[in-house]
Symmetry: C3
Subunit: 359 residues, 3 copies
């Protein structure tokens, strides 16, 4: 049958760790469901990045756009965003448009009074009745997995893409970060061997956690974690990096790190997770990227940010060619388009077109 | 001219009963406006069900999907939902996508402060200016009819599909129920002669009322009304069935009825109509369909539910092949697509394609 | 490069008056950004009106609709409506559908909690990352200009269409009014030499201000400003008309003006701008258009209204052929389609098709 989640009970599946779960979401090196960053092996990452670049290049011409829009015209994606997120929503939505997939959305499950008393599983199963793909964001950790398991075990299985669930998983954000790094180091031998600094709220940012994990799949990458003590990276992540043999440094001196690294990944303070307004008592000014820092930043280094930005990066930095965070936004659209093409096995058609047209 | 509502004043039209109104909404056996269940004759029902099946089969291939999407590409439907209803909205929306009709929506007329003071008729007439079809849901009974009359009497008439108005009419829900019955009895001689139980809140469910009425058009159907005394079917409906010569039984013993019938139509308690929280004092547990009931249910019988479900059906029942309520959801999409194709006179093209491809 | 706003600093640009700004938004007689009514010269207005008529005629056939939808299929428009406006939104949305441009929307920037702390410029720049065109409505006067300047000065410039900003500019409303006048006087030698009455709240309606200004570009037009003293036209507008040499009359006698004019532009009381509920103390009954007024209105004169209407026009007037306010709504859709085709330089393709098919 279409996917491996049919072969396992929910109790068995849900009690596994992320690495053990991974093979249940894929088949033949392609994702069926996309639930965790951990499900992506290095070959899968490289194929996705290459495919995203193909899509991006093909989209540059009208003829190419028409070709892309013919890929998934007969499919419909349901964007179910129980938690608001304008930018992730728009990114997926644009990606669907690029590859011709029709969309519908449910952005606030509270609108319909008749839904009172319905189980969340029933609601999503209803939505899935109209769709060929569920792209979902939900505040409850694990809910996307539960839905994926359920939608694998019905007569018409529907793949699920996790667009952010709870505090821990946002796998497509990690993919776009990898793609941005891959593009940034396209002419400097790729991600292997690079030094990458993570700056800001490392304690609570799921972005940093997922990206750091994916980077363990590359050779010789070294991480720098630069943050005030109160917001430093968690021991759990460091344990994973130790286990993977990935070197890292903990630092409290941003200006010392800047000239040493190939990429600086800035993050904002995630004060929405504050319990007692604690972020407001942390002085983060020393961890902001200023216009002056451009002078000590390496010539080929890049500055990334998952956005939205607050005070972490001076807007005067935006026009520097090394500031790639706006390009990063569009990379998200391309990698998500690539991902959905892969789920529906249209990657081959894209690669063929790209070769034929020598892109 | 395009429709018969031009030949009659609003006062004259609005004072008619549903049966007398019926011919004003149709022309040559096709609906122009879709306002009531009563406007559908048996031949119209059979043509719609057959067309829905054609659409469903054609949609199974990419070539077929492309053909369907070419049908109404130059039309635009306005989904005007003054009352929230996620599932009806998504069903119509998906149906539009399948047949290539473009959509726009107004889902909350309160958003625009500038609209304060505008008459509801002016608002809908403005919306209709951009559209070729109005699909509307409105809390006020009769409002859809008022709009249909108005939009018949302008220089550019626009058809209106009632997607639920007030307490009484929700004609496309009745159509999808008929289609689900027709599909369920496809290999057992159709709806004629079948025994159908209605269970739950029969007093207030407009779904039951409309479906019971449509079933009077079939031969030898027998209805069973199974509900607690406080929620039993109204005398008005029974009067209509008597007049139509349709036999029925009133029952308070669900387990006695289950083995006797060909279809069980479960409904939830419509406590949104409670005046004084009266539903909470009714014990409905004896009217829930449990896993054990599967053992006494006929081999070819089906379990239906308009959804959302609360406690009426144990989720463990879902995986039984006789539980057709999830299929019922998709049937709504197919029958609505068929209905809109009919309004715009594309039914012939669908039938031709279906024959040519021997579907 | 693509537009002249790259050649000027924001401080320099923002301190200019509307006329001086105009050339920075256009190139070779085509708009790149659409920010003000003042940027449209008479040749531009005439080309847009002619193009709108071409689009309208081409859209009458299925073949023509298909041709139109092929124009901008590879472009995506972001409708960013920070201020709700159902009708302007639907008009632009429909226009995009007609010319095949894909759309996405952000209609309430407050939905996303993560956006707290992000600068408005960053938000729109993020939205623009996914789009080829920004259509924006914003309560802050000047914000659309600020965004246009910013989006001109990035590596991937994106045009901005102002769909209403603050109290002053709503250029596409002025365009649709001009187009409605042009269509109404199609067989009576056009707008030149016509007498046009503005009635109602002339003090606060930006519609009247913009339209009056555009009319100065025509020959021999005379304006009548008919309103209660408290709501009469401002001295600033009259100064502009004086400077342009356009004759006008201030009047308090509506019934005297009606038989004299070729067009009557009715407006509603804009009480949303009331500071102290002052509108409620003004008696406007003498400035309402009643059924009886039809008898004294010229045979070829027209009645316009930007809608929504309150009590300004008796609904009994609607069925008179001289009441063109419902047609005015659809004119907005056609002129906006024409405008966006022009921005993307597809006007030539439309004109060619129109000629070939002798429309």
């Amino acid at each position: 049958m279409k996917n491996k989640l049919r072969q396992i009970s929910w109790d068995e599946f849900s009690s596994m760790d992320a690495m053990t779960k991974a093979p249940y979401m894929t088949e033949n090196g392609r994702s069926f469901h996309v639930l965790t960053a951990q499900q992506f092996t290095r070959p899968m990452l490289e194929e996705l990045c290459s495919l995203a670049t193909d899509v991006r290049r093909i989209a540059k011409t009208r003829e190419g756009s028409a070709f892309l829009q013919k890929q998934l015209f007969e499919k419909r994606a349901m964007l179910y965003f129980a938690q608001p997120s304008t930018r992730t929503y728009l990114s997926f939505y644009s990606a669907c448009q690029i590859i011709g997939m029709q969309t519908m959305n449910v952005r606030d499950s509270s609108t319909s009074s008749e839904m009172k008393g319905e189980s969340p599983e029933d609601s999503v199963r209803t939505f899935s009745s109209y769709a060929d793909l569920i792209i979902m964001r939900h505040p409850a950790g694990g809910f996307a997995e539960r839905i994926a398991w359920m939608l694998s075990n019905i007569s018409r299985p529907v793949p699920v893409v996790n667009a952010g669930s709870g505090k821990d998983q946002h796998p497509t954000q990690a993919l776009l970060d990898i793609y941005t790094l891959a593009r940034s180091f396209e002419h400097t031998d790729g991600i292997d061997g690079k030094k990458i600094a993570f700056v800001g709220d490392l304690k609570r940012g799921r972005t940093v956690r997922s990206l750091a994990w994916l980077l363990t799949q590359y050779q010789g990458v070294k991480a720098y974690f630069v943050a005030p003590r109160e917001l430093q990276i968690g021991e759990d992540i460091l344990g994973q990096l130790d286990a993977a043999g990935m070197p890292y440094e903990i630092s409290y001196d941003f200006e010392k790190v800047i000239p040493e690294v190939d990429a600086i990944y800035m993050t904002r303070i995630q004060d929405e997770w504050d319990v007692n307004n604690e972020s407001s008592r942390v002085n983060t000014a020393a961890y902001h990227f200023t216009r002056e820092h451009l002078n000590i930043l390496g010539e080929h280094a890049v500055i990334m940010h998952p956005l939205p930005r607050r005070l972490e990066i001076d807007p005067a930095v935006d026009s520097d060619p090394r500031a790639v965070y706006w390009r990063q936004v569009r990379n998200g659209m391309w990698i998500r388009a690539a991902l959905m093409l892969t789920i529906f096995k249209h990657d081959g058609a894209i690669i063929d077109y790209s070769r034929e047209h020598q892109l």
